[in-house]
Amino acid sequence: MKVVNMVQSINDAIDIKLGDDPNVVVYGEDVGVEGGVFRVTQGLQKKYSERRVFDTPLAESGIMGSAVGMCAAGLRPVVEMQFSGFSYPAVNQLISHVSRMRNRSRGKYGTPLVVRMPYGGGIKALEHHSESPEAIFGHIQGLKVVIPSTPYDAKGLMIASIESDDPVIFLEPKRIYRAIKQEVPEEKFSIPIGKGKHLSEGGDITVISYGAMIRDVQRAMVMAKEAGISVELIDLRTIYPIDREIIRESVKKTGRVLIVTEAPTSFGPGAELVTIVTEEAFLSLEAPPTRLSGFDTAPPLPKGEHLYFHTPERIFYEIKKLIDY
């Protein structure tokens, strides 16, 4: 097994699918010659030709909308929005067509499309390069929304996403693109969409998170352990459809739950998760299900970033509050 980071493991997944399905095409802005601004598609154009991996004019709605047509005509496009913050011109296509074509045509045309987007903050970037818009996509009926937190999961989930007959928004936590390396099998494997994963077993409190926040929660857990608190960590891996079962079983056991997301608070993924917790484990609760989310503000530019993104210490503080409730 090779030790790889998430950039390499996603590249590997796309490479495998380009290799075994001639209907897979990969396109977007700068994904061809350059291999993407984060190099996720590096080398793929060289290997599979400009016919299958190519750059398009700079127009997100054109990229998204043309994929709808390609899907109707039998292709399986994997498109890139260069940053999630630049995806909004394409949101009309997502809401009006990508998510609805199957329903509108009563199953005649589907949209087996993967939309890759680097998302999330903490990389000291310009404006529009730091948002966590997963709630926007999770709210669109007809889309699946996937967010990996490790190179291993990223590969398995990407293969499952390309093989999915339903459209998948694949949000890539850019902060940890190269920050984590692990052993990932070189062969093809997939991880089912819609299934969360226990990253640790614990009895005192459940923490639910995903994406780049997982690493910060794990750091907070070291502090919690020193304070004698046993944390059960769930990596959701899929924002829609959410794995209710894993949440139910865990919260029934611990009675306390903290949800950690970067996304803004109001109407955000935390709200959805708190609802699921109360629906599924109301009678087991010993403290109010709590969300630690982003402020309802624009993510600050680099000089203010440290105030917006949750530190392990802040996460530990919230864990402790719930234990002491």
Partner: protein
Amino acid sequence: MFKKYDPLKDKMLQVMDDDGKVIAPAVKPAIPDDELVDVYKKMQFARTLDLMMVSFQRQGRMYTYPPNVGQEAISAAAGKIMRDRDWLVPAFRELGAWLAKGAKMRDVFLYWGGHEDGARFSDAPNFLPPSVPIASQLVHAAGIGFAINYKKEDSVVFAVVGDGGTSEGDFHEALNFAAVWKAPVIFIVQNNQFAISVPVRMQTVSKNLAVKSVAYGMPGLKVDGNDFFAMYAALSESFEYARKGNGPVLIEALTFRRGAHTTSDDPSLYRTEEEEKKWEAKDPIKRLRGYLVSQKLWKESDDEPLVEQYKKEIEKEFIEYESYPAYKLEDVFKYQFKDLPEDLNRQRIEYEKFLNWKEARK
């Protein structure tokens, strides 16, 4: 033809005058007489169906409907050229093209009668469902065109939009993508003078709409959209051009929506009777009939029995459609995803429980 009718010079391709007299024999397409009579009948059928749709709506037997009357020549010409392997990417006001592509009357009734089953067009291959958000379907057409090239297929995409749609960003992205990809797409702009109530002069200061092709490096043609011969000539030239791998074409079909935008619209608020009269004189069915009569291929008196027969057929089909199975709870959920997520299934089950409770209460 593309050179001769350069949109920068604002020339319009026209073959016959308002009475059906051929004024440009050099560009008149050669179509056998019997086929021409068939085209005329199809236009009459589309109009009869269209008018009856409005009347069904007025009777409360149909929901909101966008009338086509006055624009039939465009669909008739596209319909005559399209093959099964070609694609139709519609907006929503091209009924004749739907029928030519293989839509059944039942589909038309179902769709405008408020049932998604109508947009499946089970007997019509390569036909996207109608697209309501203006111009958003044109980028789909570019994508289909890409796929045709990718798979080395012999197909052409017919994509339809209105004059208002040329102001949308997707119109421009679609033209540009299709041009860059050399995609075999014919973009047909039905310039029917109004986007609901807003006249073309408020959409653009371009001298015409076909000229928008120039910036994208593709041919464009401004065509008399009420002149079947002109439309057929323009579309067949574009069809051959696209098919041979030269890329997309933009056609502006100049026409007039003689009816309302939809059955909820009141055109008297934004246009004059005088204007309506002017366009009535240019009616596409009247013009083709004028030609057929002059060639002794048709008699004015042939119209009435033909339309009466169509009315009977349509009425019969409509009555059959009215007994189409009622919308079921399952129909709401079934097609949202290929694999229904458990969570969504839960929502269905919760509603079923309510229905059972309601039933038990009776």
